[in-house]
Symmetry: D2
Subunit: 360 residues, 4 copies
């Protein structure tokens, strides 16, 4: 089976998201990681050394020793990989991903650069698998294709909203309490955040609103019509390592009971579950009992089976307040909110036939 | 002038709120602190020793040496104080405050016990000074009277909503990020909260919604009719020392511009400012410039003049999102949200004549 | 094989140490956990519920559902367990462990109550396995026996000092930076420790000095003569979850090179390694490369194989300063410093024949 | 009097130390701040804006509006200031301070660049005021002079050791627990230090040992002979904002009682106290009662009068352990350990006549 695995490359492997990609792609049933790239100062170093304290217990010796290459289209082209995962910062991702697409690569990207490009599917596998047909649209114009996954907070939010969509979604008010790993290894200085909250994350609120409405939108004639729900988003950074907590209030068209509401969340399931994709959680949404959950420290890595840890969205404190519902949700920002979403998209694309050699 | 100051007692002086009361009452122009009480294990100890690490730099030797008495109506009665400030926990406050009212005391209480009692005015001085007339109603039935101030988060929220009331308040969605001091000196264990968020504070959400609607309500014929705005409140505890941050989205009847909205907040002023009460901040609401404010660490103690530090509510990141407005607000939970609100109520009552000897 | 496992009970199963005991005893090759006890409010609850947020991912359903019994000699007697692990607080452990010894139990105790009792072996398996012969001495007088393991910090320190003992140990100056879990689930209030250090842990310094000297001491004629090295210990509590870091300066009799010193640490091994005990780490001391290690967050769970995670002591920054050596060491306080030390003692006692049925 | 104040410049005014310099020099009785410099991106900005969140409550409008100039000898020369305070990083300070000395400036520098230069006095005013005569030695060769103050941790340590010097100092073993502000505004990333300790600060241990021995050394014939005590120093970084805590064990020649030891610390006083210098604390060493002090959060700003807050070293937990003494000490790293030490040196130099116009 190993010789049938598809060869994949990983761009930007040393950051908080890149490392999660590597962890998920290590010993993957469909994919074989054959190339790693990172920025200049890591080039030439073995992966294990370059990631330093982000290394995980149990990393294989082979991966630990794998040398890091240059982040250029030529270098990536020199590997056999035509599937490319991108954990690059937007500033670099923009041009390089276009270049790789022109060279025939299928790029699964966590970068924000092309998320709102009308030709690029922006996908959470449980939410809008059908948008992947845009892969074909792209291939009509380019040698390859780009598939984006959304912002870390949007990834969790959209799964919950999708589960409620059947009741008619009028609006949602969201306040995020986002973890430090979302800002990168050295993104937030200790003196700024310790014992503090910063009620601002540049551009984040717009990303969450726009991307969520796009993923909930309908695809028709190769165009996505955004969902028209009102989204009112406010973001903050808090001194937590991993896991974005969100306080959500939703306004539905239909008047449903709390029981119906809870069942819609608990029972939610989609293509990745039906296909039993390797990185798909058995239950994409876990409704936690108990008064005081979800908590980032306890619940960020929710998800079964073991390979899908961090892929489930935890929900708790569901309250019916008049005509609206309030709840807290938690998404692991670098797994379900980034690397895991991207890998799951690739798994889904693979099983849906988008990665077939003949197609390219 | 000193011999004309009114004598006051402070109940529950050793907690995080009690200590703020003591600080505000030290060297107060209207009031003279003559009695301190606390729970059993502190009785007999000098105040400075009993409060331990909560002592502030510059505490007077006299206050430091002041002995702590028993928390009983008899002991309080034995002091000359007929004005009593209460920082007691609700479990003790309920009965003792009633007993003190029966003995003719005017009790300014931070406890939640009697806040929703229709006879008890629940007051933030800048919001509903008129409700203080309930003092007279109580005195028709009892020897004294109780005046309550609201929950720490409601105290900040209601000031902002009051400033916007002229535009018609349809609804407000609030998520609080509350500081540790609100839970008391030993209220939250380090292992539970360090690097974490707990999205639950018992009974807090209901308090915030009910108390806010009451304070915004109209008093007619001795009865308060609650405001009918929809309030959707979600609370969380975060690892911050002081200052409750709130993410607020408001729905107004009137369509106003962002400029008008901002001016309404900045220009807000009420009786305490007109009377230049000692603990009143010059501006009850401070609209902060800058993208990333208010922050608990930097802004919790906002307020001028020096005596009013921690009495201003800081507001920032005001955004017009379609028909709604989003912003973050910050209130110092043990000052404006507790002790300071209570002392300001007493100052207002004093200047409005409710504390006149002849009246009792 | 399963029907040959020895039945064991666990006293005080719900605290930070008790939970580590349960984790280590779950699916243990020698021992089968048949009884759990805890304090009053947990009695009758299933283990999984009683430990709340201390539960670990992957806990078996059987253990999760296991009911918690009363912490009495009668209840423990009613189980078949004659091997008892004790994670009780000293206040309760003192009498109950004596009673269990009188009833014929072999008690492996993490409590401090009997550590300095001359009849009770105080043991770290790699350091003073020979002291276990005191088990026989006890059995001459009592039906059973007690085996103690040391204070959490002493457990790490003594392993490092033992490895250096061949060079002659004149003295050691130790400053500990101890984690919060050492003080129990609710032992340290967040307001006291967040962004702070408390340079005091009651009785800790004496325990570390006395217990370490005892474990390094010689047993002759049924008596232990303490080692006469000078130990100068200072303790502090810091805002870290797990892992006690220690800054150590040692004074040796012999003048050794840094290389020799490092080799003595790296090469250290003892009975548990030779016997390949289940909970024994392959290397009891891991000398970390790199300038800035060991760090609690990265290194507390050091130890191979998987069952021995948290059982290795990490050492780094070894410097020769004139005639003295300085280094930092890190010990996982609830594993090697508590539950793991106790379980390893029991494994060693089992393999050395002290647990034989015939003997009791 | 104001027109008689000496004009001073401040180099590197926007960092954690620079801001403390500005605070101490605002409204100073001897000095008038006439020029501020910082690195490129702050040049041209008003001071208040450039320091951002490091601004202190009560900063004067004049200082807030003061424009920041380029960090060049020409620009500094264009101001009238011949007294220059330097909070520059060593990489810049080295050459620029030499250039300013050549131009006739008297530079009081917190940078490490010239601390070990045999011509430059390295001074804590209470410890080695006599070393200031090296100012004259420098002026024989250069137009101006440089006076250095030591590393932040050494500043606190040397005061305590100086107070004990009368008993004969044989050796000292020190472990530091250093605050984040010592590493600069963005010096430590939150993900690296939150809930963690880093047992390493580059070059710090050598600095502390060498600088301390130099300050305790004797000046004879224009040369300083370092003290020969053995110093064994280990440094760590912990998640605390301000205040370096140190665990110290001292070995004295003389056998003194604990009482004598404590009195030597409490009674310590030197030239700055005798001259009542503006920034001198009444007591340079404060011996705290209580079991659990000093704590960074509670004690870092110790020192009377108000201008000298943060200038006293707090000491606690003094224990006699055999022939050695153990204690914890705390020094405010950016005040006594940096800016305050430098300003105090300038005050002392001024009162000792080293700043006289005629001399230059």
């Amino acid at each position: 089976m190993n010789n049938k695995k598809m060869k994949v490359a990983l761009l930007g492997c040393t950051g908080t998201v890149g490392v999660q990609f590597a962890r998920l792609l290590e010993d993957h049933p469909y994919f074989q990681l054959v190339a790693l790239t990172a920025s200049g100062r890591s080039v030439g170093k073995p992966f294990g050394e370059a990631v330093g304290s982000l290394a995980w217990a149990g990393m294989s010796d082979a991966l630990r020793a794998m040398p890091i290459g240059e982040c250029t289209a030529d270098w990536i082209g020199s590997s056999d990989a035509r599937i490319v995962f991108s954990a690059l910062p937007a500033s670099i991702a923009g041009d390089l991903e276009l270049e790789l697409r022109d060279r025939g690569c299928l790029v699964f990207s966590n970068a924000s650069s092309h998320r709102m490009d009308p030709q690029v599917p922006l996908v959470i596998s449980e939410v809008n698998a059908s948008h992947l047909t845009l892969i074909h649209e792209q291939r009509l114009r380019f040698a390859g294709s780009i598939v984006a996954n959304p912002n870390c907070s949007a990834a969790g939010l959209v799964i919950v909203l999708k589960a409620l969509l059947r009741f008619g979604l009028r609006g949602a008010t969201v306040t995020t309490l986002q973890a430090l790993s979302g800002a990168g290894k050295r993104g937030v200085a200790a003196l700024d955040i310790m014992g503090n909250v910063i009620p601002y994350i540049p551009e984040e609120e717009d990303k969450i609103a726009c991307e969520t409405k796009r993923m909930l939108g309908c695809l028709a004639h190769g165009r996505i019509a955004d969902h028209d729900a009102g989204l009112f988003v406010s973001c903050s950074r808090i001194p937590v390592r991993d896991g974005h907590l969100q306080s959500l209030v939703v306004e539905l068209e239909e008047d449903v009971s709390r029981d119906t509401f809870v069942r819609a969340l608990e029972g939610f399931s989609a293509e990745p579950q039906q296909l039993e994709l390797p990185t798909a959680p058995t239950a994409p949404i876990i409704v936690l009992p108990g008064d005081d959950r979800p908590q980032p420290l306890l619940d960020a890595r929710a998800g079964e089976p073991h390979r899908a840890r961090g892929m489930a969205v935890s929900v708790g404190r569901i309250r019916k307040l008049g005509e609206r519902f309030a709840l807290f949700l938690l998404v692991h920002n670098t797994v379900r909110g980034a690397a895991g979403a991207s890998v799951l998209n690739a798994e889904l694309a693979f099983r849906m036939g988008y990665l077939d050699e003949g197609d390219r």
